[in-house]
Symmetry: C2
C-alpha cells in the first residue's frame, strides 16, 4: 500500500448521466438492436440479450478423440434486467421498496429458468472499470445447460464439508463470523480507541507515549479478535471473507439455512433489500464515487438437481470490487496473481474495519 | 465480437518514453527508494524490490483452531530485473543477443534461488493496462517458501496425466499441436484460400458462388484441422492453447522434454530468443501498439523438489494479453467469468490464425 503508484489511473465514474437518454437501448420507450421497442416500464424490466453468449440451439460439437482435446455442448439463454426506469440511479440510491422488487424478480427468475436449467447465474457488472458497457442500472441472467466451473467447485467443496464435518459450511462460517464480532465489541470498548484510525495510518510511526501504547494494545488484541463483519441484521450478514482476494471483496450470507433465492421469506427479502442498501452505500462512501464491482448470486443448482439432496448448499452473493486506494487507483490481478497466487495489499480485517466505520447515509444524499 | 461497445476505452500505450529518464528509479545511474544508486549497467540489471510482497523473515501466524480459518507462513524474496539500459525499448525491439542475456539470467535465477526455494516465479507485467507501474522494460522474480496455487495445480494435473496415460502431458500436447499444423498445411494448399480473410470477415455474408463455396469448404475442413500454431522453430512451439481464455493468450513450449529453464541447452536458448522476438513482434503488429500482457514461466518446482522425481513436468511460459478488438478495447474478465466460467469472444483457432498471418517485421522497424 505504500509503494509509489505511477501506473494506470482510472477515469472516475461519470457523474452527469442523463435520466432518460433517447439513444440508450435500455431506457423505457427506446428501440433496441433487434428493432423491438421497450415498454414505458416503471419498475424492473426484463428482456433477452440482443447479443447472447449462450443460445438454446447451439450445435453439439460431437465426440472428441483425445483426452487433451475435449469440448462439450453449451446451451442456454442470456437475459438483461433493468433495475429502474432511470439511468442516473443505482441500487444504493433506490428506495427499499424498489430494491425489493429487484429481489422478487431475481427469485422469480431462479424459479422459472430453474425448472429446466441446472444453473441460473444472476450477476451485475457495475461501472466501466468492470466491463459494463451501459450506465443504465441493470444486471444479467445467464441460464446454462451445464454447471459452470465456479458453482461446480462450490458444489463439490460444500458437499465434502458437510460429509466430513456434519455442518453446512457457509452457515457455520456465517455464525462463527457473527460471534467473533461479539468478542471484538469488547476489545473496542476496553481500549476506547477508534480502530480505523489506528489501521489506516502508519500506526507505529505516529503518536507516542499513551496513544502509541494503546495502538499497540489494539493491534495485539486484534490479532485474536479478527473482525471481518461489515453490516448485519436479523437475517443477513456481510463479511470481508477470511479468504478475500479483492481489496474490498465481501460475502453476503443469510443467517438461516437457505438453498436458493426463491426460498427466501417475505421478511428475509425485506432484510436483504435493507442490507444491500447499507452495504452499497458504504461502498459508494468509501471513495465518494459510484463504486464499481462485479457481483452475483450462488445458490443450490436447479433443473435436474431440484430432485436431489442439496442441503450442503447455502445461498450467498459475492461482491468483487476492484478499487484499492482511491476512486482512480485499482488493484490489478495480474502477473503473480495470474501465474502463482492471488495476494492482497491490505488484510480482510483492515478492509472490513474501514467499511464498517463508514456512515450509512449516502454521500450524495448528504451533499445534495 | 459484434456487439456495440460503449464501455471503457483504454489509453493507448505511451509512445514518447524518454530513453533515459533521470527520475525513473529503474534507469542506470539513478537513485532508488532505499537510497541505493543503480550502476551504469549496459545489459540486464537485477536488484531487490524496494516494496517486496514476500519477505524472508515474515512471522509465523501460529497454529489455527478451525478448518475454516487456516493461515500458513509465507516467506520469500522479490527481485526486479531490468532487461536493458534503455527505457524506450521492449523485448521485441531488442537484438537477439540482448534477449538471450535475459534468458541466461532467468536460468541463473532459477538455479540460484531454486537451491533453497521450492518455487521461483518469473513474470513480466507489460503495459499500464496490466498493472505495470514503470515503463522501463523489466520483469519480476518472486521466490517463495511454498508452492503457490497455480503451480500446485499444474504439478497435480501433470503428475496425474503421466500416471494415467504414461505420457508427459505438455510434451504430448506440443507434439500433437505441431502435427495438426501439418494437416492444416494440406487443407490450405488444397483450397488456395487465405483463411485469415475467411475468418475475420463475416464469411457467410460476403461473396457468392465459387468464393462462397470455397469459404464453406475451408470452414468445413477447418473443423477437422483446427489450427492453433502461431510460430515454431526446431526447438520451440507457440500455440493459442485449446483451452485459452484470454483472446490472444498463448502457450510457449519446448519440443523436447525439459523440466526447468536452467536445463536449456545453448541452442535452445538461442531458439527461445528467436521465437520470443517473433511472437512479441506479431503481438505488437496485431493492433500496432506495444502489446500489453502478463507472462510468466512455469517449470518443475525446485528446493526440496530437486531431490524428487519431477519428470511429469514440462517447462512452459504463459502469455495472457487483455486486448480484444483494438489497441483500446480490451476483454474484461468480470461478472460471468468471475462467478461462473471464463468465456471467449473469438475461438482459439481464429486468434491463432490472425497472429500467424501477421508479418514478422516489427511495425516500428517498418515505419522508422
Ligand atoms: O509489483 P508492481 O509492478 O508494483 O505491481 C503489479 O504487479 C503485482 C504482482 O503481479 C500486482 O500485485 C500489482 O497489483 C500490480 O500492480
Ligand atoms: O455483457 P456485457 O455487459 O456486454 O459484457 C461484459 O460482461 C460479460 C459477462 O461477464 C463479459 O464477458 C464481457 O467481457 C464484459 O464486457
Amino acid at each position: 500500500m505504500k509503494r509509489p503508484w505511477k501506473g494506470q489511473v482510472e477515469k472516475p465514474a461519470e457523474d452527469n448521466i442523463l435520466r432518460h437518454d433517447p439513444t440508450n437501448p435500455l431506457c423505457p420507450g427506446n428501440q433496441r438492436a433487434n428493432g423491438e421497442v421497450n415498454p414505458e416500464y416503471d419498475s424492473t424490466f426484463l428482456f433477452d440479450n440482443d447479443f447472447p453468449a449462450l443460445q438454446p440451439d447451439a450445435p453439439d460439437p460431437g465426440p472428441r478423440d483425445h483426452p487433451l482435446f475435449q469440448t462439450k455442448a453449451a446451451r442456454g439463454v442470456c437475459k438483461v434486467m433493468c433495475f429502474h426506469p432511470w439511468s442516473d440511479i443505482t441500487l444504493p440510491l433506490m428506495e427499499l421498496g424498489e430494491i425489493q422488487r429487484v429481489i422478487d424478480k431475481w427469485a422469480e427468475l431462479i424459479e422459472e429458468l430453474g425448472t429446466t436449467y441446472p444453473w441460473v447465474q444472476i450477476f451485475e457488472n457495475k461501472g466501466a472499470m468492470m466491463g459494463c458497457s451501459n450506465p443504465h442500472p441493470h444486471c444479467q441472467v445467464w441460464a446454462s445447460s451445464f454447471l459452470p466451473n465456479e458453482p461446480d467447485l462450490a458444489d463439490h467443496f460444500q458437499r465434502e464439508y458437510l460429509k466430513e464435518h456434519g455442518e453446512v459450511m457457509l452457515l457455520q462460517y456465517a455464525k462463527m463470523e457473527a460471534e467473533r464480532r461479539g468478542s471484538w465489541a469488547i476489545t473496542q470498548s476496553v481500549t476506547h480507541q477508534k480502530p480505523v484510525e489506528v489501521q489506516n495510518k502508519e500506526w507505529f510511526y505516529v503518536g507516542s507515549g499513551l496513544s502509541r501504547f494503546l495502538s499497540c494494545l489494539v493491534m495485539f488484541l486484534m490479532s485474536f479478535y479478527q473482525e471481518r463483519v461489515v453490516v448485519e441484521n436479523d437475517d443477513w450478514l456481510v463479511v470481508v471473507p477470511y479468504w478475500a482476494t479483492w481489496p474490498f471483496q465481501t460475502l453476503l450470507l443469510p443467517l438461516r439455512h437457505v438453498l436458493r433465492l426463491s426460498d427466501l421469506t417475505a421478511k428475509e427479502r425485506e432484510g436483504l433489500a435493507s442490507i444491500m442498501k447499507r452495504l452499497l452505500t458504504k461502498y459508494d462512501n468509501l471513495f465518494e464515487t459510484s463504486f464499481p464491482y462485479s457481483m452475483g448470486w450462488h445458490g443450490a443448482p436447479t433443473g435436474p438437481f431440484l430432485q436431489q439432496d442439496m442441503k450442503h448448499w447455502q445461498l450467498h452473493a459475492h461482491y468483487y470490487p476492484p478499487l484499492l486506494r482511491s476512486a482512480t487507483v485499482r488493484k490489478f490481478m495480474v502477473g503473480y496473481e495470474m501465474l502463482a497466487l492471488e495476494q492482497r495489499d491490505l488484510t480482510p480485517e483492515q478492509a472490513a474495519q474501514r467499511l464498517r466505520n463508514l456512515p450509512e447515509e449516502h454521500y450524495k444524499a448528504r451533499t445534495n
